[in-house]
Symmetry: C2
Subunit: 430 residues, 2 copies
């Protein structure tokens, strides 16, 4: 077992690159990558880093040279033999050969494309341009690098002993959350915390804590490298990136209105079972479900990723009922802003009414809130999004106006096309 | 820095003997040993283990073979060259050559004498017989061996991960106590926790925590090995053992009444400054001070080791005043049943009225209370005392009848000789 505090102190990270493998990423990235590789390989996209917590001035905290070193290290990575074997030979959600030979051949030869980095107003402008299946793989490494470099800047000022107490506190804090979850019958909560983790070693520790503390209630982790190393299930389905790019590519309003369903139609052809999870909130959940074709009601579940989670789940339940489906046979995956107390509350609220499952992210793998004076290790809201596709801007609305993004005129157009009215604002913490 | 949890898990203690040096003991044992070596070398004494917490059935918890192995290991130890150099060359309380050449020559050749061990009623009867300066050195190793073996019996049932969380919690718990102490101006609190420590590695960690957390407010540790390894001051003066044996040797009541003062008279000839600390409670503090010769009022301080500590300190202050001494120039050392909250309260109460100093024992080095289900690692009240000297029983009264020991008739005789009336009972936890 790694003594994280001592490792942090002794090595000063020289032997710990932040991202140490191309599969040190979320499983859904690889699933989506294969889908994009198959359906939209030539689309040119731009991904861009966006720090929603302006008070954290990343360019003042993180040394540019170190940032470039870490990004360059990722560009030097390629899929190892063992990683390829794991992807080719593994069973995902009970299915063999989830990844096709064509995709694997391509992935084995992949190096990540170049990046563009400059400082502006105390923040980093970090963008990635190129073909969609390549560029999209930058999102998770870029986020975990920035998040961990900011952490290292703080940790570097701490003494050997302060570090040990820091990690002791963080361990105690997480374990106490796990103890809150232990009594819940039928609980299923997975690790979704790669992108905003405190560090790789720490995420790895959190996963082991979940394994030991929750047993079967912990189905696995979204992180492929950790899933591989720890013999766990890799967990995930799809994300907003797909409808955002499909929508940006739409020629007119009619095509735009169809785009989010086109995404799921492509997905429907490729996947079944637990991978058929609707992410309905990109342009407002209510409208999306009302206008959804009937075949979507046959899908396994819905992921609730913005807005008030209980409201989102109620909306899903009502929609299934209106389409003649039994919600008790359906899965709701909560994945937004979770922490132990909220998981307990949602689990209790929906027990027996729907199958609930949880993708626990930042507050699982980065809850260092309150553990240092000035709270300098608290997680913050960093994202890396597709902002352009074939020269046209992308738009996201979600069920929370605080999470909306895109040029104002386009946002208004999308709201009109998707019939989104007034939305409740929910504070975005992480 | 040692990762204690992993060490406990990996090594299963094969490379971690509980007592690893003859100076892995309290400093005052060595000071007293030299005094006894000089003044009463031929006295034959018996030391005996006494478990005051009957509910902890040591003989059921601790394997006899393992216990013998650890005790035998201590008998194989002799003073190393480096340890001898440290004792000969070091400055203790500003004084060079605290230990005489004669004593060091003797100590360098010492091996601890044999022990007698049997089981009775779920407890171990463990006794040591022989010449006082040799036998007395068994007290601290015997206690730390029993305490740690009981801990190991519990730890041996725990998983790798449970162990890591256990130590993370214990670290967090101690650090939070240290944070309570940090704001106290002029605080002085030393480690007195060798005898009932959770383990050697853990005590060593606690000492480092105190060093880093309290700085100058942490003057040092009673443990000589740790003081040596960590370049700290070794702390301590004298204990009840001296008046108990001197008193047992007294020929008649008149000699008995004199005995506790004879002890300090011998000590007065050998030591000055911070080593002139009166331990007045062996046969009742009030009577001891009332009948004390005037030269004792000139001593540096008083150690309060039983009864209500605030009452003990007030008694000391009043006594100094009655002898024309300024209490603000005097030192009160609190050393009984301390924990962070009590230290804070006593520090505040006596600020500006007397110099207060703290010898923090069990709850510094063994506060695993509440950290396991069933509380199986909670510290308990184990002592190892001189019970006989030259064939005559010893007696201790202290300021708390729950801490009294000795044959009933002798206890009554001592009470009469020392004029001890009704005493308030104080619960003995550790």
């Amino acid at each position: 077992m790694v003594d994280i505090a001592t490792r942090v102190w002794n090595h000063r990270w020289k032997i710990d690159p932040i991202v140490r493998s191309l599969i040190d990423t979320d499983f859904y990235k690889l699933l989506m990558c294969q889908s994009v590789f198959r359906n939209k390989p030539d689309t040119q996209v731009t991904f861009s880093l966006i720090n929603r917590t302006k008070s954290v001035r990343l360019a003042d905290l993180v040394d540019e040279g170190e940032l470039r070193e870490q990004l360059d290290h990722v560009r030097s990575l390629s899929l190892s033999r063992g990683e390829s074997t794991w992807m080719r030979g593994n069973t995902f959600y009970g299915k063999r050969q989830m990844f096709s030979s064509e995709f694997m051949d391509w992935f084995e030869n992949l190096r990540l494309p170049d990046y563009h980095l400059e400082k502006r107003d105390g923040q980093y402008e970090l963008t990635f341009e190129g073909s969609w299946p390549e560029v999209m793989l930058w999102e998770i490494p870029a986020l975990s690098i920035l998040m961990e470099l900011r952490g290292r800047a703080v940790l570097g000022t701490m003494g050997r002993f302060e570090l040990q107490v820091l990690y002791a506190r963080a361990m105690t804090k997480l374990w106490e959350k796990i103890e809150k979850l232990q009594p819940l019958e039928g609980l299923r909560v997975a690790d979704f915390g790669t992108r905003r983790r405190h560090s790789f070693l720490w995420q790895d520790w959190c996963v082991q804590a979940m394994q030991e503390g929750l047993g079967d209630a912990f189905p696995g982790t979204s992180n492929c490298l950790i899933a591989k190393n720890r013999d766990l299930e890799a967990i995930g389905t799809n994300a907003h990136e797909l409808p955002m790019v499909y929508s940006a590519l739409a020629e007119d309003d009619a095509a735009l209105a169809r785009a989010p369903y086109d995404v799921l139609s492509d997905w429907h052809d490729e996947h079944d079972g637990n991978l058929r999870i609707i992410l309905p909130d990109t342009y407002g959940t209510r409208g999306f479900l009302e206008n959804a074709p009937d075949w979507l009601a046959g899908w396994t579940g819905i992921r609730v990723d913005s807005g008030d989670p209980a409201t989102g789940a109620e909306t899903a339940i009502n929609w299934w009922k209106s389409r003649g489906e039994d919600p008790r046979e359906k899965l709701v995956i909560f994945s937004d802003g979770l922490d132990a107390d909220k998981i307990v509350a949602l689990h209790e609220q929906f027990k027996g009414r729907v199958k609930a499952s949880f993708g626990w992210g930042t507050m699982l793998t980065n809850d260092f809130k309150g553990l240092t004076p000035d709270n300098r290790l608290a997680p913050f809201s960093l994202v890396c999004k597709a902002v352009e596709a074939n020269g046209k801007p992308t738009v996201k609305l979600s069920d929370n106006p605080n999470k909306a993004m895109g040029p104002e005129a386009e946002v208004e157009r999308y709201k009109r096309v998707f019939g989104v009215g007034e939305q409740e604002r929910v504070e975005v913490v992480v």
